[in-house]
């Protein structure tokens, strides 16, 4: 059984069918790329998968369970985390607090325990503190733990957003243009990071990206969409040769 499977997924805004007949299967630990020209509906797909938009048609199965109609925070708890095209950090909070936010739903202590600072509060807060530092260490950011998020350089902010998404313990990570605005060096580092994440956390990754070097370099499978429809699916080699894809990007 694939980790994530969509069947005839689609959404219509008014008269505009932004995405339609969207069928993909993502296996566990698969690295998949989602590409397409501007306005093709890539981010809309992400918003459908994460519950931001309610699909007007179709099914999304995560581990065999249909997650259509679930709230975004419920879907995160079920195992799909994401990052955003325009970084969305908790800008005025410290780096470590950004990460701690994502541990929220895994902590158990009640409001009363938090207010009265019962032993469960101290125990769990200490655990989460250590886990957050560990996670930051994996990204070589532990020395920045108490820096305010907005003061980080751009590349680090991207990394922090990915770290935060991972803190929610996903089975599938959605990255929306992780390399946007990065210089070639940063992009190269990012490619290594993405590989590292997949191997270390044993999760599947679906990423939207315009940087073809990055997509072709790391994705095992690529899905191309145009005008909300899938026009090609395959390995990077197959996609490179696909006439429809070339047509969509360069014109007929």
């Amino acid at each position: 059984m694939p980790l994530l499977e969509t069947r005839d997924l689609g959404i219509t805004f008014g008269g505009l069918r932004a995405v339609g007949d969207f069928n993909i299967k993502i296996e566990e630990q698969e690295l998949m790329g989602l590409i397409g020209p501007n306005g093709a509906g890539k981010t809309t797909v992400f918003n459908l998968l994460t519950g931001v938009y309610l699909p007007t048609e179709g099914v999304i199965n995560l581990d065999g369970e249909n997650i259509v109609g679930k709230k975004p925070y419920e879907i995160v708890q079920k195992g799909i985390s994401r990052t955003f095209q325009n970084i969305r950090l908790f800008k005025d909070l410290s780096v470590i607090d950004n990460v701690k936010m994502a541990f929220h739903h895994k902590m158990k202590y009640s409001t009363i325990a938090g207010i009265l600072r019962l032993p469960s509060y101290w125990k769990e807060e200490k655990e989460i503190h250590e886990k957050s530092l560990e996670l930051l260490k994996l990204f070589n950011m532990d020395h920045l733990a108490y820096t305010t998020a907005k003061n980080l350089p751009y590349g680090q902010q991207r990394k922090l957003e990915i770290a935060r998404a991972l803190a929610a313990n996903p089975k599938l990570l959605l990255l929306d243009e992780p390399a946007a605005g990065m210089n070639p060096n940063e992009t190269k580092e990012l490619m290594e990071t993405i590989h590292f994440i997949r191997d270390k956390f044993k999760i599947a990754i679906l990423l939207i990206e315009h940087d073809m070097g990055l997509v072709m370099g790391i994705c095992e499978k690529i899905v191309v969409i145009d005008y909300g429809m899938i026009i090609a699916t395959g390995t990077p080699e197959e996609i490179k040769k696909n006439k429809k894809v070339i047509g969509a990007y360069l014109g007929e």
Binding site: V76, F90, K91, L93, M101, T111, G114, E125, A165
Partner: protein
């Protein structure tokens, strides 16, 4: 081990400070240095601290601009006063029961208003809450049980310096520890970025309503204390201006700083009294001070930081700090 010691130390310093201030104020009252006129000011400071810190929970931490806080205060004041008139318990117990009932009803109103209103943001929410505050006032003005425009008279005097002091301490402590727990982090995440909060697994609707109704609950308690101190309630004292006064305290102290709210509540309660001598110029000077304050420190006295005795005594520390802002608290 050393962390344990630090924890104990910070608690004992704060509790020590609370006790010292309490003893000091009690002694000053006993020897008549704080006479009954000043006592009124001390008690209104306490009530204003409750109102400001609770509004800070909704506006400073949750980030939702609410302009109807006096409405919740009114609900708490009237409900607790009516509760007292229908019961006959020993004084202290009666006060506790009444203000709790007042607080709970105000909290329920918070949920009632919050569910539709919190779908909106910024100016829209401000207008809805403003309208709600006015609706409450007009309803009170037209009901029999509240005495209408004549006001509600003959409420027994149950609030004392002791009760106000300790209830204020308890409420501030509750808000402080709440904010520094995972639930408080969730509340702050909504202020920072609601979409991001939802995307890391935080049920934002729940926490918005939770924080908003908790703020209303504490405002209701503040209203209950108010009712049992002034013993007369007049709907006019819970109008829009009262909400604005509370908001000014929060903004001046710093949105997202409890100690800021406390200091600002003290300053802004005493200031008009100090300016009494200038009768005609009073409001003018008061306003000018606000304008100057906002020009030079738009983030408020404390910004989002907390004043901490421990930090003050020892300098900065990091160690284990489960909190978004600073550590420790002082009263």
């Amino acid at each position: 081990m050393s962390r344990m010691d630090k924890k104990l130390k910070s608690y004992s310093i704060n509790i020590g400070a609370i006790l010292v201030i309490y003893i000091l104020l009690t002694l000053l009252m006993k020897f008549g240095i704080i006479n009954s006129y000043y006592e009124v000011i001390v008690i209104s400071i306490g009530i204003n601290i409750i109102m400001a810190t609770s509004l800070n929970l909704a506006t400073g931490y949750l980030g939702q601009l609410a302009l109807g806080h006096a409405g919740f205060m009114a609900v708490g004041a009237y409900v607790s006063a009516i509760c007292t008139s229908h019961m006959n318990l020993p004084d202290t117990l009666q006060l506790i029961v009444s203000i709790l009932v007042g607080g709970i009803v105000a909290g329920l109103f918070g949920i009632l208003v919050g569910i539709p209103a919190l779908r909106l943001k910024g100016d829209y929410l401000a207008i809805i809450t403003l309208a709600f505050g006015e609706i409450i006032r007009v309803i009170i003005l037209n009901l029999n049980i509240t005495g209408g425009a004549r006001g509600l008279k003959g409420i027994p005097l149950l609030t004392s310096f002791n009760s106000v002091y300790w209830i204020t301490i308890i409420i501030v402590a509750i808000i402080y520890t709440l904010i520094h727990s995972r639930h408080g982090r969730a509340i702050i995440s909504i202020r920072e970025d609601e979409i991001a909060a939802e995307s890391v697994g935080i049920p934002t609707t729940y926490y918005k309503n939770f924080a908003f109704s908790l703020a209303a609950f504490f405002a209701g308690i503040g209203g209950g204390l108010y009712a049992h101190y002034y013993t007369v309630l007049d709907p006019g004292s819970f109008d829009f201006m009262r909400s604005i006064e509370i908001l000014i305290i929060v903004v001046l102290g710093g949105m997202g700083s409890l100690t800021g709210s406390i200091v600002a509540a003290i300053v802004l309660t005493i200031l008009p009294q100090l300016l009494m001598d200038f009768a005609d110029w009073r409001m003018l000077i008061y306003s000018i001070i606000l304008v100057i304050m906002m020009l030079f420190r738009p983030e408020g006295l404390f910004g989002k930081k907390e004043f901490s005795l421990i930090t003050l005594l020892k300098g900065k520390q990091h160690a284990f700090n489960p909190t978004p802002n600073s550590h420790g608290r002082s009263e």
